[in-house]
Symmetry: C2
Subunit: 346 residues, 2 copies
């Protein structure tokens, strides 16, 4: 009578199997994998052979449990489907991957409560370190992170007064520079479409940037016509229509991001307004879309990849040893394209 051999999943090889095959102890195999230079070259070669022939891969749970480290970093971004954060995350994750770290991404959909939730989840999953967007969030989040000793870094913003690691750019400075250029062109009436500013320091900074530029040009920043709306193209379109109903109407509409600017462009086309002849439009972020729309969007290029890469390096260092809190500012640049021109000559 043949042995009963039910079809069932093959068990993956374990450290012990490798150790047996290589004729060493499990400790040596473990060292080969985690601290190769502590092992004699000959032994190491033998172990590596065994690893290869067995197709061994460490069991994640066991490793995490024993080492008290998961080699997993987390990132909480406001949203995943608007391409803004994709570039940064991509670079972040590539850099992590080089170091054998896996990235877990969660979206907060621009909600503080949800963000706290996601941060907690990531911590429960054992994230070794966290990447966050902007400074605005519940104080509990920072407390929790600090209490647990989990390093984190704030990106997409810059605020020297905050006691957090950060790598980003100054939203206000960037927008102010663009607005100053706009005003230099002769525009007198700026309309602004901004994302919700309440829980979003980036949006606030951008709005303030426009105001500051107006002040720079001797204008009363209280005269700024701004519409606050959601982060979508249709919302941008609607906001644009509202702005165009003003009398006198703005000669330029500056948008807090490219998506809303694309909506504005769309609305302009639908209203028969030529951009930039009748009205100029600017964006912020320089996502792919900015080049695709007609006319192409004048916008601010943000160093997304640079932020991602740098954030990864800082966090890896912080996890491995005690590093001081550092704050890095990266440059933004103005992308001149055709949606911005001088104001119409009455």
């Amino acid at each position: 009578m043949p042995e009963e051999t039910p079809i069932r999943p093959a068990e993956p090889p374990k450290l012990e199997d490798v150790a047996t095959l290589a004729g060493v102890s499990t400790a040596t195999v473990s060292r080969c994998l985690n601290a190769p230079d502590q092992v004699a070259e000959k032994t190491r070669a033998r172990v590596q052979d065994a690893v290869r022939t067995l197709g061994y891969a460490p069991n994640f749970g066991a490793q995490a449990l024993a080492a008290k480290r998961t080699n997993t970093f987390g990132a909480v971004v406001p949203t995943m489907d608007n391409a803004i954060f994709a570039g940064a995350l991509q670079a972040f994750q590539e850099e992590l991957e080089k170091n054998g770290i896996t990235l877990l991404v969660a979206a907060s959909t621009y909600s503080r409560d949800l963000e706290e939730d996601k941060i907690r989840t990531l911590i429960a999953r054992g994230a070794d370190a966290l990447l966050l967007i902007g400074h605005d969030r519940k104080e509990e989040c920072y407390e929790l992170l600090t209490r647990r000793g989990i390093p984190y870094i704030v990106t997409w913003a810059h605020d020297p007064t905050k006691p957090h690691r950060s790598v980003g750019f100054d939203n206000k400075v960037a927008m102010r520079a663009l607005a100053n250029k706009v005003l230099d062109l002769g525009h007198q009436r700026i309309g602004m479409i901004t994302a919700e500013t309440k829980e979003n320091d980036r949006a606030r900074g951008r709005l303030e940037g426009v105001r500051a530029a107006m002040a720079d040009h001797g204008l009363n920043s209280a005269d700024l016509s701004s519409v606050e709306t959601q982060y979508t193209a249709p919302a941008g379109a609607q906001a644009f229509r509202n702005l165009m109903e003003l009398n006198p109407r703005p000669t330029v509409v500056m948008c807090g991001n490219d998506v809303m600017a694309a909506g504005a462009l769309r609305a302009a086309a639908d209203m028969g307004l030529k951009v930039p002849q009748d009205v100029s439009v600017t964006g912020f972020d320089d996502i792919d879309l900015a080049e695709i729309v007609t006319p192409a969007l004048t916008t601010i290029h943000v160093p997304d990849q640079g932020m991602g890469r740098h954030a990864a390096r800082v966090l890896i260092a912080a996890r491995n040893e005690d590093t001081p809190i550092e704050k890095e500012t990266l440059e933004t640049t103005i992308k001149w394209r055709s949606s911005l021109g001088p104001p119409p000559t009455q």
Copy 2:
């Protein structure tokens, strides 16, 4: 002399702490969390209190190790920064979240080798189940998955001949339907811009769909002018220009996806061609962009959210018990917008 109290991270509470506080054994606490109905109501309440006051969250590694299940699913998509898969992943992940499952996403950048790599990584991370895009991939991947007994599901495609769980739509049928409508409008010369077809069954299906429609209309499908290029707007723009140099030139350009179609639209504008008066353009996917570009894109809406949600349900069921392989087909619909019109009347 005061006790030395160095500042250092607080250790998170563990199961045992909860058990002590609630005055029960660790087994009971564990059961409260994983199989509540096996525990008397009074005990359960007591335990839940303890969990709450301690802010307890299970240690992921320990749980994975002991239960041989990570409550993590994986997804390997060709790319993350083109918004196509975002909707599906979003829905997939929401459905998973309801069941306490975390999603790990990896991108293969349309490379088979990289895809295999990512699949292996996900398995090593202990993914309980996997979501994949399309059927085309290395045979080793399927073998590995099967050998390990890890359930997986193929999305974004439909092929009844394949022995895999799947939820998707028939790319060929969908494109054929649109192409038939195009031909019904009177177009005689179709230009096609397709993504690389070599390792991409979705792209192939879409191309075949156009050919089939031509045959349906008594045209010789070999006469189709098609350009194969990369999945980007600039590539689409270039391909469009090439197509427009043909003589006689196509009266309609059908694109394998919306991103390339947006590029085509851009090129048309740059060339001074009016869409759809001079030439029509169609897309595929119905991403947000399709509504934003000018003119808005006639395209095929794919049931991305539906696929994501359904895939999650199927995979959860498959992980929990032995379920048979099932294949679900969802409907696509044609989105009529302004980029498609009748051919120019010579």
